[in-house]
Symmetry: C2
Subunit: 413 residues, 2 copies
């Protein structure tokens, strides 16, 4: 049934050692809905009073679980459960899909003694097939009683991912250490617009939901909203953060401007960026991890539009797959972005080698050094848009290879 | 040097029989700048008083020839010459590139007795290499003296095109017949924004430049601006129309609203659409010609945004390459377009088979019939956005295959 793909050549060497987060309990189960011989259901339990925050896909055809999470957030209660299943997105399944989701929520609420709107859910996988709720219920109960590691949790939410993705950081609040752990899944259909695929951040910091929401919203821009694999945006993109409040680090923080959050903010951003990069490193068919920095644009927004135009250009991505310093395609991508750029002052560098200046090919360009850089796994592209503005942005993507076609031209079976 | 690719499986069986257009003289030459053993320079001569109109790329990094054509149009003189070279785009070549272009223009003006700003030029091919003007001049003189067929002219402007592209129509104005001929080149970097790559329409109708401009501008929307191969927009896109006025059909028409233009308008639109389809049929690596129609959107603009979102989705294009009725990806593409769409009233049909209705998979869907349709070369996708609006649009694209990667991951050599 489900194909297994070879581990991405850009994968990290190993899954990180991730510490326990006080109050956060992980359980998994195997429903065998699509995947055989592996867990595909994750149930995370939170203690009383856990803070929660979220950002979601802006898709106009978003899935029922996304709508449900937004409803829960609006209700404003502490979170008690995160329930994720992989293999079936339960998206575009009409009322039958909604009913199936509600049954799962009620079961999770029942076994944990929570209200329905304290149960956050995500479903990922094939679109258009109704989740068979009756088959799920015993597995939800089993997951609620099991106790697994972070790596097992990260593995349970994978679909076409070729490796489990997790990251961990520490931060100091009021002189006491707290932990931040994150897991994420995503590989194709990656062009996040507020969030990407499924990502979850957990911490034992004692902060309120509004503070958590503020930090999540401000860190998503330079991380998940700065990556793209194929310019396609999922109907299920969900990014949730949970804070158990059990770190014992001082009193609860309820003001996003509280200076005691400084170190936590940095760690949170760093964790988010790490997770986002792992999604690009598992981009379908990827063989190169590409960083694109744009400066000298009118403003940061314009710089990001130009950077994403380069990152999403099939012609740029195939040139890099072919290890070809075809900078004319970068000029093209800058031009089609529609933002102000001065053709005659544009600067393009690959791997620190200046390829163009003053509107034409640079005379001092060392093609050998550039080609050596392109033969590596990590590719750096720098563009100065030439209009002298303060705008800058960095985005990350991967190359476009035969592997992407192989994976996506396959039959769904 | 330049690779030759196998003729597209979607190519028309033969180049059409295209009649002479009174007053329009075609000449070609072989500069051997990039291509050996074939013509790569086209020089078209027009009689005194020929009308001219044009639309161009909106790229912010557009090429010097595009800027020059815009200058000529603004000057408002009759056109005398169209000069096109293939293999070198002379784009992003700074002042040296401008100087080379000016030399070519002066030579063409000299041999035809025209002013410089009556010489329309296009260059297509590799970006970033200065056109070696001195090598061009004798070839421009030779082309001005030669006399070739429309098929030879269409062949001389090809780059990665796998077949020469031409179309012809007749129209009646004031009871007298006139001819419309068009030639076009384009295969990759196709997501026109006002025009695509290089396209030229010629007619012997006796109409003024403003009338020609009006008809060109109104027919480009449903033709060249409704096709996409890879979402990349060229720096050189140029579409020009010339009217020699030699058909002998009544007096010159100077009012775009003149009812005598009715038949001509229809023929002009039909010719433009034919030429645009040929570009898609030669899309790099294409094996399927895909028509996407969207109805039930808020307005025509919204319908086109949704249709292009589907047409540019790598996941939709690879699914069709794989002959897979993966309609979940069409739902995704509708959702990411950002225009109003009702998930629970969305309708998707492939090859006339209704796949979804009322927000879920259709119960009466005949998968065998749908698969049979997807195995063909011409694929029809229909979407009703479900918001009950009057908006509709049709766009055309091709599938995304290993052939596209092969062509574009190659070294420029």
């Amino acid at each position: 049934m489900a194909k297994e793909y070879k581990k991405s050549p850009l994968a990290p060497e190993f899954f990180p050692e991730m510490p326990v987060i006080e109050g956060v309990e992980l359980g998994t189960a195997s429903t065998e809905l699509k995947y055989k011989g592996r867990d595909d259901l994750l149930l995370v339990r939170f203690p009383e009073g856990a803070a929660v925050a979220g950002v979601f896909t802006k898709s106009k055809t978003r899935s029922a679980p996304v709508d449900w999470c937004r409803t829960c957030l609006a209700a404003g209660k502490p979170a008690r459960v995160l329930l994720v299943n992989a293999g079936n997105a339960n998206a575009f399944t009409g009322r039958a899909g909604d009913d199936a989701m509600q049954k799962c929520i009620e079961t999770a609420a029942g076994v944990t003694g929570a209200d329905n709107d304290q149960i956050y859910v995500s479903s990922t996988g094939v679109i258009g097939e109704v989740l068979p709720a009756d088959r799920m219920l015993t597995h939800i109960e089993a997951a609620a009683k099991s106790d697994v590691s972070w790596e097992q949790a990260a593995n349970a939410i994978r679909t076409t991912d070729t490796f489990a993705k997790g990251a961990t950081r520490h931060a100091v609040i009021d002189g006491r250490e707290c932990v931040l752990n994150g897991i994420v899944k995503g590989s194709g259909m990656i062009a996040p617009d507020m969030a990407t695929m499924l990502g979850y951040v957990f911490t034992d910091a004692d902060i309120t939901s509004p503070v958590l929401q503020q930090i999540l919203s401000e860190t998503v821009g330079p991380s998940f909203n700065s990556i793209t694999v194929d310019s396609d945006t999922s109907t299920s993109d969900t990014l949730l953060a949970f804070a158990s409040g059990k770190s014992g680090a001082g009193a609860e923080i309820s003001d996003p401007a509280d200076p005691r959050l400084a170190d936590f903010r940095v760690a949170f951003q760093d964790l988010m960026t790490d997770l986002a990069h792992q999604v690009v490193r598992d981009g379908e068919g990827a063989t190169k991890f590409i960083k694109i920095t744009v400066e000298g644009a009118e403003d940061d927004r314009a710089a990001k539009v130009i950077a994403l135009s380069i990152a999403n250009s099939p012609l740029v991505k195939t040139a890099i797959a072919g290890e070809d310093a075809n900078w004319g395609r970068i000029v093209m991508a800058v031009g089609k972005a529609g933002e102000a750029a001065d053709r005659d002052r544009l600067i393009i560098e690959i791997g620190g080698q200046r390829l163009t200046e003053a509107g034409m090919a640079s005379k001092n360009y060392d093609e050998d050094a550039c080609t050596a850089h392109l033969k590596g796994r990590d590719i750096d592209i720098f563009v100065d848009a030439g209009v002298g503005g303060p705008g800058k942005a960095t985005v990350w993507t991967c190359d476009l290879t035969h592997g992407y076609i192989d994976i996506n031209a396959d039959y769904r079976s």
